[in-house]
Symmetry: C2
Subunit: 476 residues, 2 copies
Amino acid sequence: MTIRLALLLIAAQLCAQDRGAILMEFQGFLSIPNVASDGPNIRRNAEWLRQAMERRGIKSQLLEVAGAPPVVYGELTAPGAKRTVVLYAHYDGQPADAKQWKGSPPWEPSMRGGSPMDPETRLYARSSADDKAPIMAMLAALDGMKQFNLKPTVNLKFVFEGEEEAGSGHLGRILAANKRLVSGDYWLICDGPVHQTRRQQLYFGARGVVGLNLTVYGAARELHSGHYGNWSPNPAVMLAHLIASMRDENGQVLIQGFYEGIEPLSETEKRALAGAPDIDAMLMKELGLARTEGRGVLDVINRPSLNIRGVRSAGVGEESRNVVPSEATVSIDIRLVKGNDPARMVELLRRHVEGRGYAVLDREPTPEERLGHPRIATMKVSDAGYRAVRTSMDLAEAREVIEAVKRLRPDVVLLPTLGGSVPLAIIEDVVKAPMIGVPIVNHDNNQHAANENLRLKDFWNGIELFRALFMMETAK
Amino acid sequence: MTIRLALLLIAAQLCAQDRGAILMEFQGFLSIPNVASDGPNIRRNAEWLRQAMERRGIKSQLLEVAGAPPVVYGELTAPGAKRTVVLYAHYDGQPADAKQWKGSPPWEPSMRGGSPMDPETRLYARSSADDKAPIMAMLAALDGMKQFNLKPTVNLKFVFEGEEEAGSGHLGRILAANKRLVSGDYWLICDGPVHQTRRQQLYFGARGVVGLNLTVYGAARELHSGHYGNWSPNPAVMLAHLIASMRDENGQVLIQGFYEGIEPLSETEKRALAGAPDIDAMLMKELGLARTEGRGVLDVINRPSLNIRGVRSAGVGEESRNVVPSEATVSIDIRLVKGNDPARMVELLRRHVEGRGYAVLDREPTPEERLGHPRIATMKVSDAGYRAVRTSMDLAEAREVIEAVKRLRPDVVLLPTLGGSVPLAIIEDVVKAPMIGVPIVNHDNNQHAANENLRLKDFWNGIELFRALFMMETAK
């Protein structure tokens, strides 16, 4: 029996697999609170996971450094296989405020919308989507294969992190300490959602990010606006001119050098983008927008961006008072594409501000400095950030993954990069292996918010997907 | 004995007057809490005041409308006098947070810095300066005159308001209902501070004011900045461009027609301004400024201004999140000079925003409106405001007041207008009489804030000043 025939058989027979049993096991996993800072419960999650892997014949262990949630590691060797695939997911979740959850609290999973046989039914719980769903789907995929006595065609390694939502502060050290163990031909990053059209997608990178706050100053204290307005420099106006000088009204960044040094997209990547669905009109309607900043969203996420994520100066509305504010602050995040160095992008911004006549400090000015400089700004990098990572779609490993997924989902969307940022650089720095993003959950899963949920249809699809990947054809 | 000789005599003999007794009586007055909304205590203030006036032979009564603090009214007729001078002050004060007061709470007056004989000693209490000080100084002036058997040369009327700090919501109605009673040749507005150089000043008007909030919109909800930044319109950037279009970096307002319709200063007013002390350098040092927005502060307050009093969009610093904000709000106050109509100035701003491509609403946009307009703003006037008032320095009444004050304080500073706003228009609308501002308290009195205080030197000066005014020479 060819692999292809086996896949078709499995797809047709999926209903034969006990969906009830899968969901029951998953609910047990979701019932364990999983905030990274909650040490005892994180350990219960890790232990639950280790045992669930052992039951499936995966040789597993906890990889640890002091004071951090363990990485749950597992290996399933395929005799004769030449390829070793590392599957990454994370078992920790975002903190949750139970008061904001409707129907059921975050760690008491509940099903809504119909029976588990209805594909539109959703399972509500923290991490039901982000990111326990891929872990459970991998385990269920192995169960389904066992029913048909099918074996993986590649060696599988599992790296399940326990503090992704807390910033992955120890992941690099844990991987470095277990370099040989976690080595493989490439990594599949099993996190994030499928396409907004509900089509399967694969992403080959993620943007980097750096965040900072910039404050400009007026007088040393708030002043009566009647006595001193339009005489004492108004920092809110200064900041408005500064922001306007950074970005035009069409989203174009005006900082010198901002678009330089970008690694261009390959022909394959350009073709992939051209073939991806155009969702601008759909998004505009959903978001109540009569215009966008000029380019298509797929174009935008393949360029660096400068986003104003917040502005504050004195008070507005009920809190407004007749004052000349004494300072004004803007918070900025810069998204990076391959070729952008986080520190260089911050330096370009600093030079831009200096070019507008400001003395730029990394702390508040002293009274003497205020008297010595007509314009002063304080610039503080809040998230040192990390660079973008992008895997070439032309690599043999990438082509194998694309082929395997295409057989099951011919309409798969291939994205050179996610718009959002994932710290892939932390992994890349240690393991030096290509990475490909394999998301399985619905995009409307309320990730990071209250009432997180998993659409069962996407879960069943995900199980099929992992089965296809575990049994894919390889060149060597 | 000429009036002039009498004045000199009195000045020399001021120490003979019992300063201790004045302060003791004042402390009793300051011990009564005086927030306008505190009905029972406001009434105790009014009653205290009525009795204090009666004791001095001032025929007094409470002028009332339902649900408002009374105006305490008094009359002291000077036989044979042709001029009738109305003296306005207010006996209510700003609310106070006792926890922020150091040394003594707001309504437990305390003396700090030395003995009452030391002119630098200060009296701390809510309304010790703003605005019970002028009231007490007028009463003490009459006491001092009585010692020397001196009589006023003009008919005196006293109008002491009880809800100025709460917006003078009923003053117009109370005055209108007692129009004949409160009529006089002109009003002396006894509120505000003396000059920052500690020189006496007279002001002949005050600017008007109008306040508003302006909100611009992006997508219907906050968006992930990685996925949608620089694609979905960023309202913080839109607002920055809008603010920058309203004002250049030198304080010049760029709204069409903003500087039109201003009633020009007379030659006398220009001369007065040219003779006023240049305090820019002193203020810049005090406020930590290495530059100002281009013009001298005295020039600025004689023009309309547009001040950004606050800006807010999403969060900064600790509160920053990686989002494209869904809206951004600016709070603006516009100061008006004579000739500016508040409604017209708001209309000019509205037209300016429309001219930048915005549909301007007076409420939040509906989902349909969002989809129908590329740019939408909501503009809400928060303080309907009032116009500026300015009395000509060339009026006979004005010249008499200036003369009387100049004899006592040859270095008096004459200001065509205050930079700040006082609702003189409310009074002017009813009584149609000229108004002149006669402040007596120190500028550094912590008005409206914690630890309000009165510098005794200014208080003693104020008593002398009222004595001079009560006995001034008049043309008729």
